[in-house]
Point group: C2
Chain length 355, copies 2
């Protein structure tokens, strides 16, 4: 297949990334962070592309965040040199890969238990080149993390007792809309660390929905937004950006108009995922705001129309997905576009790096 | 990485395919089809692997079903020679690839509109090597398909008027639990075709949930089950098989036990998808039937435990997903296992072939 030069030559379904919007999103977030003296450490799980990771760092990011060792390896291979893995790394194969990464990039991870700490302690023994470990705090998300500020202080002191490790601070991923709860937990933990004579290091928080409030927490020094680069329907609903800021869309073709009120497009759950994130519908058609993407089969998107109108069979539509991060994860390559021009096709290099 | 020889050496998350169970599922379905004089044409969208497609044909399948041209190309490259694409193929790039496929395998497709037919008519003009086109019928699924038996007959006669096309019969994908509605639609259409002097060709139906009732419809001559090879939590709920027949599981590791009633595993929506198919929870832990996989983040599975019991941090668990087909689509490779032994690692060859 020759590389299409224009959007109208791209076969569907396909992921389009508006390079101008994504770049503007990077710069807007960096300007905000700079204005408030926050370090920005974008999460690459959204794009999984060295191309954007480099641009995020060039714009001023302190480094990047990865969720998987495989993602971090891809980014290290691409020249990214400061990587935070906010995850409990468990088991010998992963610890060996983590140790190899530690030899070539500035690396930090998290722990929320003695068990995770014991594993790290066995794999990192060089007191002259310690691994930076942050304590993960559960500030309301109900996922990983120590449950109280006292437990955070306790684990921090245990990290400091391991010769090959260095306590690096606190990490949290607060639930959307509740940064204040996180702020209280973190401030109390910080006070506890100081009272225990520990350097409280960096406090790192994350999440695109509340990113514009990051400066309100006096404890937080670093922020890890992920989706902000592309944005999506959910983030727009949360107020993190506008529909006009969204950089990722899925280009699809109408393949059937079986009834006046139904259109079927060639993007289903294997292109959009079935993530609703609590919202009605599975995305929206950018050019047809009255249409509802009401259901998904694996390779069919079901569009409900109010009346017998466009789109017609063969029409091409752009779908704004509910959740950009899982869409990136479904495609081997994405099209970088500027207006109607195709700038490049990028393999989603860190996709499929599941371990 | 050396190839692990045993399941306990596989890093997580990983997809395990129990080769003995999958083979038994293939043979059970084929025996059923043979017993009832039905042609079986398994849908490869579930596994996307030439390995299994070949075994399905070796067991007696009449051919295979693919949902995307890219899948069909992979299967043709692997030697599969009879492929049905039950999809409206729209637009020149796909029609050109379809024509290329038609030159090397026995190929058939569907149409549900004049527009689709016009596209096919433009790309297939050789009366000596006609493309077989079935009419897709909407028998209650509310997806693609003509809406009435009369419309099916009308489109069939239009297909027959195109020199490069041959009317091949009727295709439907009925909603789970409603094969009788489909049966009525198909029988009436068949009668209409006969009354119009048309050869009614083959009637092809599909769907694993109702596959064991396929013989009840007098009209249906071919059946296209997909998920039956692996089965999953949804299919077990629908009675298509038992938990002991399920061949696909996701191996995961417990990475956190933040509270007595919560465990976090390293398989989230990027490993399991967020498909619920109308069921509570996002899968189940095979070894811990009392545990509930109650939520998913992208790289975390949230497990709710009734009390402070196993699994503990570092324990490895097998997750039976709600929907096997979308899990295959998330991994670049799967592990074929027999008991605790790793038989092979297979790249999911047709994954990512989105167009």
């Amino acid at each position: 297949m020759p590389t299409p030069r224009a959007v109208d030559a791209i076969d569907t379904p396909a992921v389009l990334i508006d390079i101008d919007r994504a770049q503007a999103n990077i710069e807007r977030a960096q300007a905000y962070a700079d204005r408030h003296g926050l370090r920005l450490r974008p999460h690459v799980k959204t794009h999984k592309l060295p191309f954007w990771a480099r641009r995020q760092v060039e714009a001023g990011a302190a480094g990047i965040t990865c969720q998987k060792i495989g993602e971090a390896e891809v980014m290290a291979d691409a020249g990214l040199s400061d990587i935070f893995l906010p995850y409990n790394i468990i088991g010998r194969p992963k610890l060996e890969r983590l140790a190899a990464l530690h030899r070539r990039v500035a690396l930090s991870v998290t722990a929320d238990s003695k068990e995770t700490l014991d594993g790290l302690a066995g794999a990192f023994t060089d007191a002259a080149h310690r691994l930076r470990v942050l304590v993960e705090c559960d500030t309301g998300m109900g996922r990983c993390g120590v449950q109280t500020p006292a437990a955070a202080v306790q684990l921090a002191s245990e990290i400091e007792r391991v010769p090959g490790l260095r306590f690096g601070g606190l990490m949290t991923y607060p639930p959307a809309g509740r940064p204040d709860d996180a702020s209280r937990f973190l401030s109390e933990s910080k006070a506890g660390l100081i009272a225990s004579g520990l350097d409280c290091g960096l406090v790192s928080s994350g999440g695109t929905p509340d990113m514009w409030r990051a400066h309100e927490s006096e404890a937080v020094g670093e922020y890890r937004p992920g989706t902000y680069i592309y944005l999506d329907r959910y983030q727009v609903a949360k107020g993190a950006g506008t529909a006009g800021d969204c950089a990722l869309t899925v280009l699809a073709t109408v393949v059937s108009r079986p009834t006046p009120s139904r259109a079927i497009v060639d993007a289903g759950s294997k292109a959009l995922s079935s993530d609703t994130l609590g919202m009605p519908d599975f995305g929206e058609l950018v050019e047809f705001p009255g249409a509802r993407l009401s259901g998904l089969s694996e390779e069919h998107g079901h569009v409900a129309l109010a009346e017998d109108t466009a789109p017609r069979i063969g029409d091409r539509v752009r779908i704004l997905p509910n959740h950009a991060c899982v869409v990136s994860n479904l495609f081997d390559a994405v099209y970088l576009v500027s207006g109607e021009e195709v700038v490049d096709i990028l393999p989603v290099a860190a996709r499929g790096r599941v371990t």
